[in-house]
Symmetry: T
Subunit: 68 residues, 12 copies
């Protein structure tokens, strides 16, 4: 593993339900065009409010994948 | 939307169950006295421990609302 | 409470399911050897990805406990 | 001046034209309800994009004022 | 305590004598209009200089109080 | 809007005249190859100096756009 | 001194009187079980409030000591 | 260019009109005593308020110059 | 140079030998698909340990290149 | 005051007694060669330990002064 | 790997020769009492100077190991 | 040592070969005009790229020296 090079992209996912679902939505979408996704790191957790309630969570991720 | 002014307040919500519930509790409480809440940002996630288990989550938020 | 001294340790817990479960796993493990755990603070939320899905969440905590 | 106490509030102003105008809009609005505004500090500069152009700048400020 | 919501305000206190007195001045002033103050956190320690000596210390605090 | 996924890219624009023009140059260039640009955030403001004067401003941005 | 290895621990001390006393209390307690303490760094200054006054200061330290 | 050494100084410029003018004022003043100024980086944007309006912008810079 | 636009990408290189080799590996790999690489900035230095020794260094970089 | 330019220098003062005395020692020393000192900001509070007690506090300051 | 718990310790290593040797010295020392070391992260790179030359590098690490 | 005052300056050194050589070049240059250099801290590691290879490393340091 010692000679791998990773690329890291910034993605923001959202979900009306939970922080985990926002993360999973972002990773699923990223995986549609990028292969070999390896790890992620949460960099920001925000959300939008409607009628005094959380309308949706919005989670920013750094996602790393192997460059072949 | 380009001439809006927002005010941002810092609130801390808590919940024995989940980070999301702590966020929702804080926003519901803030909404009782502040109208036009628009968005939030998590700034800190902490919690208290009792008998070796999480007693409650405590989540700090910045919450933005429109100044009329 | 004003003359207590706390020690703080860094622990990383993981869970295939949720951020909260990763936190609880870390605290339970820490409680096996450290008594009087009082509070925690999340310092990093990361995770590993397998086959384009979250394989597990990995949450870094600072955990404080009373020094007798 | 040595025994003054200041309160600091977080405000976000916006402008389609410039960062300075966004700052001035925020301070003017804040001054409508708060007196004795003394200083500000920019904490974030963001903006919205429409049709590939800056629609408006959005500048977050901390604004300090004297508590009587 | 698990269902409390806190609000947090930013205050700056000053004192010609010490950092602690600047903190205490700020909290006393805040307590005149806000009840149920619970904790504070120092976010910045600055000061003004006159004739080559410290004229006064100026300490910025976040102060949390219970929202009823 | 709750199920959108955004991608975020880092761009640096420059201008001999103003910070706003450096931002607008960067966004215009980014818009040539990326569609659906939604928002930006300034992460760094630097510049080069020639003959004791500002030769050009150089502004680093995070720019978010919708992933279809 | 060039081949020393230090270990660093996180400790929180408290005092009803001053920031310095909170630091000294923490170091004295740490010195009861750890030898060869060399230096400290303040990472956070907080406190608790009771009846509108500072009940006690709570200072977080990193403390370094030589590993034999 | 690979064997140059730079020195970096911290300067604060101000202007009643714009952030750019505050930067240019600072650099012009620095250039009066320091030669070979090469680049700058904005580290803080603040300002003073009078009668509810921006009295002047105050911009902190790091300025780098070649050591001969 | 005043009207250039740069794009910045995040890359992680690794090496069993040195931090410099990890940086050079990452840049060489990036250069295979991106032209006009201009500068880099180290954002994180980590590594993996095997049998009580450094197995490999892992260095995260921001790498900037000119957008034509 | 709107057309002043400040220079800022980094100084570290120390004292066996208190954080305030370390600050005052640093400012007094700086004032011996620099005139028109205006303000300071604490950037780091550290110290050395001897025989399990604080030997001296060591406080890092940014100190601003008017450039004529 | 999904149910592992890691503990993280802070260590500072030094070397008269290189940053890498300072890291390796710290990890070797840590490995004498802690087993299952997995990864490290550099948090600070400092050094001491004697007679105008680097006397030794001093590198601060977070080192993670598996809790059985 | 308890009543020393240090001054700290920011210097950037470069080298085509290694991070350590960039540090040593900067300190040697600083030592030509400043005496009693005591310690340094790395604040930024960057570099320039030419023809897809590292042309030179560029390391920013804070360097402390005793004020007599």
């Amino acid at each position: 593993m010692s000679n791998h090079v990773y690329k890291v992209v910034d993605i923001v996912g959202s979900s009306p339900t939970s922080i985990e679902e926002a993360i999973e939505t972002a990773i699923e979408k990223a995986g549609a065009s990028l292969h070999n996704l390896q790890w992620f790191e949460v960099t920001e957790t925000r959300g939008h409010i409607q009628d005094g309630k959380v309308a949706y969570y919005q989670v920013s991720l750094k996602v790393g994948f192997t460059l072949k």
